[in-house]
């Protein structure tokens, strides 16, 4: 026996969940929309849900590490911590769920970022995918599509159990197929990190400067780019009041590594290299995984059509050729 839910029941489930939590879902937008066909937003009943979305423009990173995250509010000299509210991210693909898991490790080890952790602790994760639920990634509820509009339901936490015990879920004799992703050949290549680490003088970085605008859009759409700036926002009606925010940044932006006396990464090729170095060298050595889940957002939304997979393949192949000799 297994618990299943039909897609026709999901809107009612969402209405109920939205009473208790802030609820974020992937929805389909007007096809003519410039900013993309699928986006994440706070749920409204009129939304056209896009469970099993092919790709959303921005990733669900926004709900755990908001593009503008208020760290604290102040009034004259008094500082007040802001609080986050309980939320559900409903409809994460397995790839985005993996990104959330990794983002959690980044912000909780070795130093715990309490701002992130407080928000993460108040977040319920509901994943929806055609693939089988993962063994080693945290989720509260996992819905695996086993037929057209039919989802087998798995709970990964106490709260998840509570959710799937709601009336919208039914007991059925169904077999859930075991479907897993194939490990990608180059992202799991054991030489990848070393290849990128040893490629600082590779001509590809200079080559990329001919097309890369250094705009940083790849960082903004990436579910695992997490660098940030902090800045103050002042209340213009009362300049004694304001907030300190951390805002998404990108290591591709020109001033990212600049101090008053020196810009330590002025050249675009060095900034491009650092983007790859961080994801494929520094993060693996710090956390044991790459800063990439292969979601392809950075390829789709890059105005210069730069494809990181091609870049990595070139770097990896050249490294293998070099080391064979």
């Amino acid at each position: 026996m297994s618990l299943i839910i039909y897609d026709s029941q999901i809107p009612d489930l969402l209405v109920e969940l939205a009473q208790e939590f802030k609820l974020y879902v992937p929805v389909e937008k007007d096809l003519a929309s410039f900013s993309g066909q699928y986006i994440w937003k706070e749920y409204e009943k009129s939304d056209r849900l896009a469970l099993l979305y092919p790709l959303t423009v921005a990733s669900p990173k926004e709900f755990l590490l908001p593009s503008k995250d208020v760290l604290f509010e102040y009034d004259k000299e008094e500082i007040k911590k802001t609080k986050s509210s309980p939320q559900i991210i409903f409809g994460l693909s397995l790839v985005d769920l993996l990104a959330v898991e990794r983002l959690g490790k980044v912000f909780e080890t070795p130093v715990t970022d309490l701002n992130f952790k407080e928000r993460r602790d108040k977040t319920v994760l509901v994943a929806v995918d055609k693939l089988s639920p993962p063994q080693d990634i945290e989720f509260d509820v996992y819905l695996q599509e086993i037929g057209d509009g039919v989802f087998a339901s798995f709970a990964g936490s106490k709260l998840g159990k509570k959710i799937i015990s709601k009336k919208y879920f039914e007991n059925h004799k169904v077999k859930t197929p075991k479907i897993y992703t194939k490990k990608d050949s180059y992202l799991s290549d054991p030489d990848l990190s070393q290849a990128v680490a040893k490629s600082k003088n590779h001509p590809i970085w200079e080559e990329l400067t001919k097309t890369c605008f250094g705009c940083g859009i790849c960082s903004y759409v990436c579910p695992l780019c997490y660098c940030f700036d902090t800045s103050f926002e002042i209340d213009f009606c009362n300049n004694q009041q304001g907030t300190e925010c951390r805002n998404w940044s990108s290591c591709l932006l020109k001033d990212f590594a600049a101090v008053n006396s020196c810009n330590y990464r002025e050249e675009l090729k060095n900034r491009i290299y650092n983007w790859y170095f961080h994801k494929f060298v520094r993060m693996p050595s710090e956390y044991g995984f790459e800063g990439c889940v292969d979601c392809n957002r950075c390829i789709v939304y890059c105005p210069a059509k730069i494809n990181y997979q091609k870049v990595l393949r070139t770097v990896l192949n050249d490294y293998k050729k070099r080391t064979k000799k």
């Binding site: 760290l71 604290f72 102040y74 000299e77 500082i79 911590k81 980044v106 912000f107 070795p110 130093v111 715990t112 970022d113 309490l114 701002n115 600082k200 997490y226 660098c227 940030f228 700036d229 902090t230 800045s231 103050f232 002042i234 300049n239 304001g242 300190e244 951390r246 940044s249 290591c251 990212f256 590594a257 600049a258 101090v259 008053n260 006396s261 020196c262 330590y264 990464r265 060095n270 650092n274 170095f277 961080h278 060298v281 520094r282 050595s285």
Partner: protein, 271 residues
């Protein structure tokens, strides 16, 4: 540090000195009763509400209780605001962050310190520590350069430092009253005899790095005994924001003090 919540501690400015036309030193007392201790070479983030945060090396005696000092040049939004602030006003303090100077390693060594301009600020903390405990090092030599005489910070302290330090100064441009060395800090290399096997700390603009390395690294000074205090944009202090990375290192966590053998091949430090 295990946790960070980005809420700075409240500090009150209890002292202020103008050291040059654009350089000031302020003394800060934390208002909470929690302890604050640091190792020379560590840095803090100073928050000016409504303006921003800046990383600054601590320049006072580490053993000093109840307050500490930072020295800065007014060059940006935050430092210019800080420069104009008065005794009795408040700032936010986070940290201290980073590794600081390798104090255990410095014990009983012939120590040579090379600094330029405002780079003397974190070094002063070490000098004051040695002043209190003269036996801490075998000998102390300072090579310090500034743009002009007026830019030589802590001028009134040099005579007391001279009791336990060989103080060598140079300025790029001088007036008629200056009888000392003229030129950048490299001019002092020929004037000062550095014992083989000394330990050296460099805290100055990256442009002096090359001359130091060419002249001393692996020769008079072993690569592991040559330390650089790196200046980068530290926004968070805990290795999250990514602004201060140098290849595989975070200046805020692994530094800001690095021995040359660790960063010798780091192209983000020595390009």
């Amino acid at each position: 540090m295990k946790n960070i919540n980005y809420i700075p501690r409240k500090g009150k400015i209890i002292g202020k000195k103008i050291l040059a036309e654009d350089i000031a030193s302020i003394e800060i007392k934390l208002l909470d009763k929690k302890p604050f201790s640091f190792i020379p070479g560590q840095f803090i983030l100073v928050t000016v509400l409504g303006f921003g945060e800046i990383p600054l090396g601590i320049s006072s005696l580490p053993a000093k209780k109840n307050s500490f000092e930072v020295t800065f040049r007014a060059v940006g939004l935050v430092t210019e605001k800080l420069f104009g602030m008065s005794i009795g006003e408040y700032v936010g303090i986070s940290g201290p962050f980073g590794n600081g100077f390798p104090m255990t390693h410095l014990k009983n060594k012939d120590l040579v310190v090379v600094s330029g301009g405002i780079g003397l600020a974190p070094i002063r903390s070490l000098i004051l520590h040695i002043e209190k405990k003269p036996q801490f090092v075998k000998s102390l030599t300072l090579l310090h350069g500034a743009r002009c005489e007026e830019q030589l910070i802590y001028r009134e302290e040099y005579s007391s430092w001279s009791k336990f330090t060989e103080v060598n100064l140079t300025v790029d441009d001088c007036g008629t009253d200056w009888s000392g060395c003229v030129g950048n800090v490299t001019k002092l290399y020929d004037k000062v005899k550095i014992k083989r096997g000394s330990t050296m700390i460099v805290c100055g603009p990256p442009k002096v790095y090359k001359s130091i390395i060419d002249r001393y690294a692996g020769k008079t000074i072993a690569e592991k005994d040559l330390y650089f205090l790196l200046e980068r944009r530290m926004d968070c202090g805990v290795g999250k924001c990514q602004h201060c990375t140098c290849g595989k290192y975070y200046v805020c966590l692994d530094g800001p003090v690095f021995s040359y053998d660790k960063i010798k091949y780091n192209k983000e430090v020595f390009s």
